[in-house]
């Protein structure tokens, strides 16, 4: 899988529809303090299925919905969509997980959810959170469960315990962690 595009609207400080291309190999995101750079990283963490509000710097998940400013009212829904391109044939169903990260693990069967993406085809992952608390999860436009999104990414190295996203201020955590906490980091990778 390869990142292609990130779209967000109503997510944290990104009140208006925003689109970022990630077609390049190394993309740098720059700007002054508080302008929204880490919020972009948070949006990717979130659309991949993060369930901990605390890891997104919030106290409840509703904190990710644009809360308004002095001149603009709050918004009722946060929405993020990630578009990826398959580098090789890719399918997820009943333990057949991702031709790219074949670690041989046979996962427990998902309840019949099946998705196949041919090399070069696009995969879009979407997530919405309404202020009512209602959530929607989408894969290629189709409503799925959060679990399906998490399972899909688990097969690509973006599952629980992945180190794909190193958050601001978190880089030294592995050094200050206790010896058995570091062990579980290595166990997750194993």
């Amino acid at each position: 899988l390869k990142l292609e595009k990130l779209e967000l609207r109503g997510f944290k400080s990104f009140c208006e529809h925003t689109e970022l291309d990630f077609t390049e190999t190394i993309t740098a995101i720059v700007g002054p303090n508080g302008c929204g750079k880490s919020n972009l990283a948070d949006s990717i963490t979130w659309v991949l299925g993060e369930q901990s509000a605390r890891l997104l710097r919030g106290s409840k998940m509703e904190d990710v919905i644009f809360q308004g400013t002095h001149h603009r009212p709050p918004i009722g829904v946060a929405e993020v969509t990630l578009t990826l391109v398959a580098r090789q044939d890719f399918s997820t169903n009943n333990g057949h997980r991702g031709g790219e990260q074949a670690d041989g693990a046979i996962g427990e069967p998902t309840s019949g959810f099946e998705l196949t993406v041919a090399a070069g085809e696009r995969l879009t992952v979407g997530r919405r959170l309404y202020r009512s608390g209602e959530s929607e999860y989408l894969l290629n436009g189709r409503r799925v469960r959060l679990r399906d999104i998490q399972d899909l990414f688990a097969g690509t190295g973006l599952g629980p315990g992945h180190y794909a996203i190193i958050g601001q201020g978190h880089v030294e955590e592995i050094l200050t962690a206790k010896p058995y906490e570091r062990r579980s980091v290595i166990e997750d990778a194993a």
Binding site: E24, T25, A28, G157, Y163, E172, A190
Partner: protein, 151 residues
């Protein structure tokens, strides 16, 4: 299983030792099992020795040395279990110019196999980017993307 943990530990350790030397321009860093006789349950210790210095408790390292050691280990874990992309949010904030140069060269090298998204305030780090996205808040509280020219 024991087999998988030991394999992962040894492979990540090899990557860590290698990456540590690349980022520090020498010295040595490695992970050590607290209890060698009991790999199934033992915790993991990290030892780090910047070039020319003596092996010490990693807590005595400087802020920049700790950051660099942690980056070496995180990149080693990432190499063993790669994801399609890697997002680094201001991991270079404690590094001086010399270390930032070696860090950015390492990312450049790893980018042959992985897409990187790097959030940074540092001009040297920005130079390895193929694309630069600027974020601003012209209207307070509202984030907006802008195109950026690097002077």
């Amino acid at each position: 299983s024991r087999q998988r943990f030991v394999e992962a530990f040894q492979a990540i350790n090899r990557y860590f030792m290698e990456t540590f030397q690349e980022l520090f321009g020498g010295g040595q860093g490695q992970m050590v099992l607290v209890d060698e006789a009991n790999p199934l349950e033992s915790g993991i210790e990290i030892i780090a020795q910047p070039p020319g210095k003596r092996l010490q408790n990693i807590m005595l390292l400087s802020g920049g040395e700790k950051s660099l050691t942690a980056i070496a280990l995180l990149l080693a874990i990432f190499r063993y279990r790669p994801s399609p992309f890697c997002i680094l949010d201001e991991v270079d904030s404690q590094l001086d110019d010399v270390n930032i140069k070696r860090f950015s060269e390492k990312i450049k090298e790893m980018s042959q196999r992985t897409q990187f998204i790097i959030i940074t305030h540092n001009k040297t780090t920005m130079q390895i980017a193929d694309a630069l996205h600027g974020v601003t808040m012209e209207e307070p509280g509202i984030s907006k993307l802008v195109s950026v020219r690097l002077k």
